[in-house]
């Protein structure tokens, strides 16, 4: 079985977000693997380790210009075997999914893992879009994946609970909370090995985005908190002023 994990390169989640000339200001920003993707990769590597020989390889793919490579190296240091980089700036969910669909045309991954959302543009769409463009199955709200013999068992969150599924391969799984608990931290050996692992750079198709962000705004400062002294005042404010109790 071959697993591919899609990763995106995002600013560290504690970054103070600023804009310059209507673009995200990258000055001084630390870049990381998108947290959900990092957990997805962690799970893929856990499965590979647990099921010796059943999983041939775990690859990662990213749509990014060359400046995304340090983040790809981090994924390789965590233990991914190889990487694909589609050489273009990610523009919107559609162009990213369409570039990936093209780059993966001749590949034979059985499972493609994608994090729920990227912490930058919060698009929530690449995974299921990619599945549609590739004409394959997809499952969303995936909170766990296990191997049972040669079969993958997918845990999906549903209204008020969860279910365990057998999904026909190949498929895309959009993963969320629960998929892995803590991200795998690369060790020294991993970091050294990562330097020699291949990153296959694929030329982009230059697919036009369908969505464009034209203007950014920081949230307006909200009015200061109204502090009161007693529980009674608080309940009354919520009842009379806010009308919510």
């Amino acid at each position: 079985m071959k697993i591919l994990v899609l990763i995106s390169n995002v600013p560290d989640t504690t970054t103070k977000v600023k804009f310059k000339d209507n673009e995200f200001d990258k000055t001084g920003v630390q870049w990381i693997i998108n947290p959900w993707d990092e957990l997805a990769l962690t799970r893929a590597l856990e499965l590979k380790k647990a099921a010796a020989g059943k999983i041939e390889k775990v690859a990662v793919a990213m749509v990014a210009e060359k400046d995304g490579e340090p983040t790809i190296r981090k994924a390789l240091a965590m233990g991914a075997d190889e990487a694909i980089r589609v050489d273009t700036k990610p523009k919107d969910s559609y162009s990213v999914a369409a570039e990936l669909a093209e780059a993966l045309k001749d590949q034979d991954f059985d499972l493609i893992l994608v994090g729920l959302e990227s912490s930058d543009y919060n698009g929530l769409s690449v995974g299921a879009m990619l599945a549609e463009l590739m004409g394959i199955n997809s499952v969303s709200a995936v909170s766990g994946i296990d191997l049972d013999g040669d079969k993958l068992i997918v845990k999906r969150e549903i209204d008020g609970g969860y279910e365990k599924l057998d999904v026909q391969m190949p498929f895309v799984a959009v993963v969320q909370k629960g998929i892995a608990i803590v991200p795998l931290i690369p060790n020294m050996r991993g970091i050294m090995q990562a330097k020699r692992k291949p990153i296959n750079v694929v030329a982009a198709q230059n697919i036009e985005p369908l969505v464009e962000m034209v203007e950014y705004e920081l949230p307006k400062p909200k009015p200061p908190v109204k502090l009161v002294e007693t529980a009674e005042e608080l309940i009354n404010l919520l009842h009379i002023e806010a009308k919510v109790l």
């Binding site: 947290p35 969303s140 279910e163 969505v211 034209v214 203007e215 109204k226 919510v244």
Partner: protein
């Protein structure tokens, strides 16, 4: 027309179902067109009828054994066929597990630009321009869709119910419903009747300041008294004081209740990422400099263990005075 995918929950509609109808109806009004509702699977007659109140003029209702279990590829194939036979300019879905599974597939199929987790109506429709949160709530982006068709997913509870009574025609359609490629091996659903966190209007949430699981009694009592769901911060779930399903924040559930009570929660940026869409945040914290007070609308600087019992009493007194 604007196609609204109206999800049912085990054969019943919930607030989210009527909310998406309300939202679609407002978008349709802006576009000078009407709403085509799509319901897949069997749904109680009264629930279907209820859609009339929220502006659905035409409803396509498909029932077919292949619609269970939920397979996003099958559902998007069915919705796409319906869209192809009608003149659809925009699609709206609820931004929940099911909506998020289908909407991007529809967007890819029709090469329609998608804007996810929107919390308001578009600013304009030609071209579709809408503001959405980015960087997990740290900024807003004015987003323009350049394709002819658009897909929007609506953040649950952000628009609410808006009545717009119309008379509705219900039709079925001859449609190809392929067999699902998904088999359910096991299902586990909570039947306790508790309000699911993502749907709750009121949420009472506890953090590390609650001190330990043994102190949750008054929090639960207050929550059940006011009809709220309970939530918690990540360390509380990590410690096992509360079930993981209650964890809210960047790495947990993202919620938008009317009121979010943050009790003994410091208000870390990752925590706020999951609750900042709440209409009101009420904070109780012993530390007047806790960052939660910057996000809060109302608050008390004080000991939550002393204040919770007093809040219970005050609420009872307020209700008694009302009657």
């Amino acid at each position: 027309m604007i196609l609204a995918y109206i999800q049912n929950f085990n054969g019943k509609f919930k607030k989210a179902s009527y909310e998406i109808a309300s939202y679609a109806s407002a978008v349709a009004k802006m576009a000078g067109t009407s709403v085509l509702g799509v319901v897949l699977g069997s749904v109680a007659e009264d629930d279907i009828k209820g859609l009339e109140k929220y502006g659905v003029e035409k409803l396509i209702h498909i029932e077919n054994a292949n619609l269970t279990p939920f397979d996003p590829k099958v559902y998007s194939h069915v919705i796409a066929q319906i869209a192809e036979k009608n003149d659809i300019t925009g699609f709206v879905f609820t931004n929940n597990n099911e909506g998020r599974a289908i909407a991007p597939r529809i967007a890819a199929r029709f090469k329609a630009g998608i804007v996810s987790a929107v919390t308001q109506l578009p600013d304009s429709l030609s071209p579709l321009t809408i503001t959405k949160k980015v960087f997990t709530g740290k900024a807003f982006a004015k987003t323009v869709v350049k394709s002819d068709k658009f897909v929007l997913t609506l953040f649950q509870n952000s628009y609410g119910l808006v009545e717009n009574p119309v008379s509705m025609s219900v039709e079925s359609m001859d449609i190809d419903v392929p067999a699902p490629a998904i088999k359910v091996l096991e299902q586990n659903v909570d039947t306790s009747g508790k309000i699911p966190l993502t749907e709750a209007e009121l949420v009472v949430s506890g953090g590390r300041g609650m001190k330990g699981p043994e102190y949750w009694g008054p929090l639960e009592e207050f929550a059940s008294l006011i009809g709220a769901a309970t939530a918690c911060s990540r360390p509380v779930a990590d410690e096992g004081w509360r079930p993981a399903s209650e964890h809210v924040g960047q790495t947990g559930k993202i919620i938008a209740p009317t009121v979010y009570f943050a009790l003994g929660i410091s208000g870390a940026i990752q925590h706020l990422g999951g609750v900042s869409n709440s209409k009101y945040i009420v904070a109780i914290n012993i530390d007047k400099d806790a960052p939660i007070f910057e996000a809060a609308d109302y608050g008390i600087v004080g000991d939550v263990h002393k204040l919770l019992p007093q809040m219970i009493e005050a609420y009872k007194k307020m209700k008694a005075a009302e009657n």
